[in-house]
């Protein structure tokens, strides 16, 4: 069994020394790197054309023109490449595995749902995210591949999930990742699962109560320390103690807000209780711009957006009503059936109303897309938070925000200099400057340009290289395809390719599957089909390492095509077709 496994994985293993510095068990040959002849964007608006960067022992040693390659440095050819400071996530769960979700509608086993234990209620402010991180969590590699090199990360779960830390998105273990621990108290209007507090009104009440109890216990403890004899001793409560640095204004509260109502609620709590507030996942912030300005509240905008409007494929037909009937009759494409029937039934009045509603949805979508541009115009400094965005959407969403009026420099600032300042790490991150941590993104075109590829992401002085993969067609979320069945696929690793069979089965609505090669078969995880986009993962242990494969494929009839990402080794093209019956 083991032999088979290794044989199948051989092509991947061959790549180990070539593509991965970070994962190699041996120490790297050198910790000095030299990027030359690149377009170095030191910070928004400040660029060096044909410049160089020398990196040594995790720090930027020099930046500028006419630098000489140090003798011990490995040179990364920078010709025609663009170098930026590594991006920073203002608030995220990157590297923090999501705990298993209880079944919907279920209630955890508790004696009294009105008074559950704190961990069940989602009240664990005493936890530190540093105890919950996994350096090899897929999200770290995913975000890094986009150019993110540092993140302010927080635990999952409930109204008070725990304390955040600022981490670097690289390193062999969790300890190595941590730049600063216990940087924030993370809060959210996230209720318990059918246990108190479920609703936002109970969350608000509980929040006030905990805060005031913490103030009370803190006061009592202070008094007790000064004069304890004859005095009832204060209760030791680590939940309440977690609020102490917040009460002293030494630690900010990062509140995740879903909409502007929650912006008002979080601001209300902050004003009432007196803590330092930072808002994250803000959307439609332009509607509360004055309030954000007058209170000087730091904001991280959500990088999540609603799905982009689909281009109406039938637009041509609609324009010419005379032709429409004919084309409709000919067109028996199954996905047009709905629309065709709809068109016939709808009265002109209803059609007008539906068009108006559609226009409002468009306006609403635009409002969300142009939030960043509007806030920038209004003079508000902001970064981005990534709690709710899928990594695969980040670049497209940034593109939509730029299309809606955000300048590229403003976008870059929101990814680099702004979060560095807002998180208090501007001394060591956010720009390409001598002495800062060597966190860099290197691309083959300007980052925000169409078709730009990330070539290297350097975290803590350690380069991660990315192959430019063959462009796969864009996925179509509305396509109806058949994923179930057997597929012969070829994974194209340079110089060596491997053939496997993927079997996808439908277990009453949820997909699962196996991947097999040379008689060895293993289960797939996270099999999901979105339109014509089939994604799944697989994991294997080899050479003492756990390597996860994540497939991202597009199905077109009996053909399948896409790529597979193999841990930190890079991404490889995949091609295949349905196995003959």
């Amino acid at each position: 069994m083991r032999k088979h496994t290794v044989r199948w994985l051989l092509p991947f293993l061959l790549l180990l020394p070539v593509l991965s510095w970070a994962q190699d068990e041996r120490p790297p040959v050198t910790r000095a790197y030299f990027i030359n002849n690149a377009y170095v964007v030191q910070e928004p608006g400040k660029v060096i054309d044909l410049g160089g960067v020398i990196i040594r022992n995790g720090l930027i040693e020099a930046v500028g023109k006419g630098l000489k390659a140090p003798l011990d440095a490995k040179t990364l050819e920078g010709d025609s490449l663009y170098v930026y400071a590594g991006f920073i996530e203002g608030l995220s769960h990157t590297g923090v595995p999501k705990p298993k979700q209880p079944e919907r509608g279920s209630r955890p086993e508790v004696k009294d749902p009105g008074n559950p234990p704190n961990d069940v209620a989602g009240i664990q402010p005493e936890r530190s995210v540093t105890d919950l991180m996994k350096a090899d969590d897929k999200s770290v590699a995913d975000m890094r591949a986009l150019g993110f090199t540092a993140a302010h990360v927080v635990p999952h779960g409930g109204m008070l999930p725990g304390q955040g830390a600022i981490v670097l998105l690289g390193g062999d273990n969790e300890r190595e990742m941590v730049l600063r621990a216990n940087t924030s108290l993370y809060s959210a209007f996230e209720g318990g699962q059918r246990v108190y507090p479920v609703t936002t009104m109970a969350i608000m009440s509980k929040y006030r109560e905990l805060y005031k109890q913490a103030e009370q216990v803190k006061g009592h403890a202070g008094k007790y320390a000064a004069n304890s004899r004859g005095m009832a001793r204060p209760e030791y409560d680590d939940v309440l103690a977690a609020f102490f640095p917040v009460i002293d204004k030494k630690m900010p509260v990062f509140f995740e807000v879903e909409d502007i109502k929650e912006v008002y609620r979080a601001m209300g709590l902050s004003k009432e209780l007196g803590f330092n507030l930072v808002l994250a996942e803000v959307s439609r912030g332009q509607l509360v711009m004055d309030k954000l300005k007058s209170t000087n509240t730091p904001v991280f905008l959500t990088l999540d957006l609603p799905k982009a409007k689909k281009e109406d494929k039938k637009e041509k037909g609609d324009k010419d009503k005379g032709d429409k009937k004919e084309t409709d009759e000919k067109d028996t494409d199954e996905k047009d059936v709905d629309k065709k029937e709809g068109d016939k039934k709808v009265s002109p009045e209803k059609k007008m109303m539906m068009d108006k509603a559609e226009a409002r949805r468009d306006a609403s979508r635009k409002e969300l897309e142009e939030q960043a541009a509007m806030l920038a115009k209004g003079g508000i400094t902001f970064g981005f938070s990534t709690l709710n965005v899928k990594a695969s959407d980040v670049r497209a969403h940034l593109g939509r925000m730029i299309k809606a009026g955000l300048t590229e420099d403003q976008a870059l600032a929101a990814l680099t200099t702004n979060p560095a300042k807002m998180l208090g790490i501007a001394q060591v991150a956010g720009t390409v400057e001598k002495g800062k941590i060597a966190n860099l993104v290197v691309t083959d075109k300007p980052y925000f340009a169409e078709g730009s590829n990330v070539r290297y992401v350097i975290v803590d002085g350690m380069p991660h290289e990315y192959e430019v993969k063959k462009k796969k067609g864009p996925s179509d979320p509305d396509a109806v395809v058949m994923a179930v069945g057997e597929w012969n696929i070829t994974i194209q690793v340079p110089g060596q390719s491997t053939e496997s069979m993927v079997t996808i089965t439908d277990d009453g609505g949820s997909l699962s599957g196996t991947i097999a090669s040379d008689g060895d078969s293993r289960n797939l995880s996270g099999v999901s089909l979105d339109g014509d986009n089939l994604t799944f993962g697989s994991k294997f242990e080899a050479g003492g390492q756990s390597i996860s494969l994540s497939f991202d494929l597009i199905i077109d009839g009996d053909n399948i095509e896409g790529s597979v990402k193999a841990g930190g080794f890079g991404s490889f093209d995949v091609e295949g077709s349905r196995a003959p019956k």
Binding site: P197, A202, E272, A357, S364
Partner: protein
């Protein structure tokens, strides 16, 4: 040390949040038939509102500077309708996890974007009592809101200075959610009574411990206060008379039971909601000084609501009980003036008595009668203009004004008045219509568990 104690005391004070700056307007309504509720019906009369307050009711009044002028000749002007039982404009209704949740406040979950607010305005309503649901014997504190539709700030809807109120519930709802659903107490109506008695007793102990601490504090620097407890704070405030109880109720026996509990604990501010069997105990209610907010003619939706009558409001009124008619619904709220009219068919109430049921009486029940509920100089400019007498079936609300600001104008009534639209929601649109009663929202799992 003294300074320290002072600080400590401040901890217990409920943090007073400054009222949000609400928009006030000026308006001059001319030549209308003015139904004042307290001072008769005045023909060919003007009503003038200056900066949100009524500054004049009379003939040929001067228009204040910058005021909008509305010619209402042939139209009827009345105080804005008040709904003493509503769940519109709320993001949550029930914290159904505990049989006592006195500490939660619907004021924390106001939804200013709810289009139901606009629909209510289109029915002449200017203020509602945004209530917690009836899942718990002692539910959450409620918020009296003004329908200032158009703002995004939840605070701006709150009626500044309105007294605090709290939702209680008797009978089947709390029994089902907690006794049957969660397998805890209370399973019977007797058990519900014990929930009140226990809660009030605990609150008394809490108050005593606080008092004890306050006494010791002066002489003993090492005195330690009891741990701050928001539930106990709220219950203690009920005992202190700072919060009006609004209790969901149907059966006469339970109505009497709660009055007895209140008597035992010295609680006097009590309004019953629904009160379908109120007509059986109307003299007792009047004697206690309890008030009643009822449906016009709606019953039989569960076992304990079978014994009912459409004469309920009239019987209660004739027995001297301050009575109102409420909607408890995003639909009924739009025609409360029709609901009030039913008391003329069932009980022959006068025009003024019928209209009091949806104006001044609910205002009294919410403790805001010095501000709203009638058209008088000095009161808030909350006004509704009807095309005909509001008790006529042909009457159509023309304009609804809150604090002198026109919030509904039938001439500017567009198809889609939503303040916020979900770009991905293509299903509900504005056709989505809240006619469900939300009293038991958020408790489905408990109710349908076998």
């Amino acid at each position: 040390m003294k300074k320290y104690n002072l600080l400590f005391l401040l901890l217990f004070a409920v943090a007073a949040t400054l009222p949000a700056q609400t928009e006030k307007g000026s308006i001059h309504i001319k030549n209308a038939t003015v139904i004042t509720i307290t001072k008769g019906v005045l023909e060919n009369t003007d009503v003038v509102v200056t900066d949100g307050k009524i500054t004049g009711i009379g003939k040929s009044l001067k228009t204040p500077k910058g005021a909008r002028v509305v010619d209402a000749a042939g139209q009827f002007v009345m105080p804005g309708i008040i709904d003493a039982h509503s769940h519109i404009a709320l993001d949550a209704v029930n914290e159904g996890t505990n049989i006592v949740t006195a500490e939660v406040e619907t004021g924390d979950v106001i939804d200013p974007l709810d289009v139901a607010i606009y629909r209510a305005l289109a029915g002449g309503v200017t203020a509602t009592h945004a209530m917690h649901g009836s899942a718990n014997a002692i539910g959450g504190q409620c918020e009296t809101i003004k329908l200032r539709y158009g703002t995004y700030d939840p605070e701006e809807l709150k009626m500044e200075g309105a007294p605090r109120t709290i939702k209680f519930a008797l009978g089947e709802n709390p029994m089902r959610v907690h006794g049957e659903g969660s397998g805890l107490h209370a399973r019977t109506r007797m058990g519900i009574e014990q929930v009140f008695r226990r809660a009030f007793s605990e609150a008394r102990d809490y108050m005593a411990a606080q008092e004890d601490y306050n006494k010791k504090m002066a002489s003993d620097p090492q005195a330690v206060p009891p741990m701050y407890d928001r539930r106990m704070e709220a219950l203690a405030d009920i005992l202190r008379g700072d919060i009006i109880i609004h209790c969901h109720s149907y059966r006469a026996d339970e109505i009497l039971m709660l009055m007895n509990v209140c008597k035992d604990f010295g609680v006097t501010k009590l309004v019953y909601q629904h009160v379908n069997e109120g007509f059986k105990v109307a003299p007792e209610l009047a004697e206690f000084g309890a008030m009643a907010s009822v449906f016009a003619d709606w019953w039989a939706y569960k076992f304990e609501v079978y014994y009912s009558t459409a004469y309920n409001a009239a019987i209660l009124t004739r027995n001297g009980v301050v009575t109102s008619i409420n909607s408890d619904s995003g639909d009924y709220i739009r025609h409360l003036y029709h609901q009030a009219g039913k008391t003329q068919r069932y009980g022959m109430l006068t025009d003024n008595e019928a209209l009091r049921l949806i104006t001044l009486n609910p205002a009294i029940q919410l403790g805001i009668e010095d501000r709203v509920g009638s058209l008088e100089k000095g009161k808030d400019g909350d006004i509704t203009i009807f095309s005909a007498h509001p008790l006529s079936v042909y009457a159509i609300p023309q304009m609804t004004i809150v604090d002198g600001v026109v919030r509904f104008d039938i001439k500017e009534d567009n198809d889609d008045m939503r303040l916020s639209v979900d770009p991905e929601d293509t299903e509900t649109m504005m056709l989505d219509y809240d006619d469900d009663h939300r009293c038991m929202e958020g408790t489905a799992e408990e109710l349908f568990k076998y």
